[in-house]
């Protein structure tokens, strides 16, 4: 065999990745991976607060990806977006991180970039204010989330959120976000 699974495992190991899922995922998978990470951290006697934050960011990030896929249902692009998703949870010298990516339509890059920039540039106090303002808004028909996922994530981070967009082709860019707890 020209390529081996051990090579993939080595790459994951170098990056400090504990668990990783690549491909189309479901609510059931989010629940299983989330519980597994919780158990892993409990076994290492991590503070409850850290476990809560890692679990919470993992759920918000993966549900954000999922909701993005659902928002594209009925479009021929939906399949490609759904199968492009990858989510990893790992640990490095600064602590735990949740690192995820998926392709997004090029037309969605600017609004998402603006949202991320606002969140990254805000203090914890400002984030709390943003969270409250957004929570009080009436949900729009068909809305899946509260629209505060990224704000909630930013309230829990220990280091600034890292994100990037890389153009794949005329239709899509690859979006990735890495959050450290």
């Amino acid at each position: 065999m020209s390529s081996r699974l051990t090579d993939i495992q080595n790459i994951l190991g170098v990056q400090g990745i504990i668990t990783c899922f690549s491909g189309r995922f479901s609510q059931g998978l989010i629940e299983e991976i989330g519980e597994a990470v919780k158990k892993h951290m409990e076994a290492e006697d991590k503070p409850k607060n850290d476990i809560y934050n890692v679990f919470s960011i993992f759920v918000e990030q993966s549900q954000n990806v999922k909701n993005y896929v659902i928002s594209k249902e009925g479009s021929p692009k939906c399949n490609r977006i759904a199968s492009s998703a990858i989510i990893c949870i790992g640990k490095d010298e600064t602590g735990y991180f949740i690192w995820s990516g998926n392709i997004v339509e090029n037309k969605d890059v600017a609004p998402l970039h603006a949202k991320l920039s606002t969140v990254v540039g805000s203090s914890k106090e400002e984030l709390k204010k943003l969270y409250k303002e957004q929570m009080k808004k009436d949900p729009e028909p068909g809305q899946l989330g509260a629209g505060v996922g990224l704000i909630d994530i930013a309230r829990r981070v220990s280091l600034p959120i890292e994100f990037s967009f890389e153009k794949v082709d005329e239709e899509f860019s690859f979006y990735e976000i890495k959050v450290s707890v």
């Binding site: 609510q27 989010i30 629940e31 519980e35 503070p47 409850k48 607060n49 809560y52 934050n53 679990f55 919470s56 759920v59 918000e60 549900q63 999922k66 709390k128 969270y131 409250k132 929570m135 009080k136 949900p139 809305q143 899946l144 989330g145 509260a146 505060v148 996922g149 909630d152 829990r156």
Partner: protein
């Protein structure tokens, strides 16, 4: 009125209302695939209950959410707002919100909710497992 009960799953809490004790219990993690779909019948049931209820005895909302995602938080806020409206209509209401004393994030989440509404709102520390 018929008692209301929704059994707990991995990502949805137990929701139970007993008309005799006048307690609405919400207990467990909440991060369903579609929070609005999960909470909609509960909110609907509450509307019906408050419309029909002629009793002036205390109604208590007993909440213990070891984890709640943001879309469930939105629904929980809508639920608290229903209690707030009922209070404005003269109902006697108390919220007892339980949190793990070893988990600062759980307390912060509870405090956020307390700040959102004008209700008698007790934050109760629990000994973790």
């Amino acid at each position: 009125m018929e008692p209301f009960i929704v059994e707990q799953t991995k990502s949805t809490p137990l929701v139970a209302f007993n008309a005799e004790s006048r307690m609405l219990i919400i207990k467990g993690q909440s991060y369903p695939e579609n929070s609005f779909k999960f909470y909609e019948p509960i909110l609907q049931w509450l509307d019906d209950f408050f419309t029909m209820d002629r009793d002036d005895r205390l109604i208590s909302l007993e909440v213990s959410l070891p984890y709640i995602n943001t879309s469930s938080s939105k629904c929980m806020l809508m639920l608290l707002e229903k209690f707030e409206e009922a209070k404005e209509d003269g109902k006697n209401i108390v919220v007892n919100w339980y949190y793990d004393q070893d988990n600062e994030s759980e307390l912060e989440c509870a405090e956020d909710f307390k700040e959102f509404v004008e209700l008698k709102f007790n934050l109760i520390a629990m000994q973790g497992e």
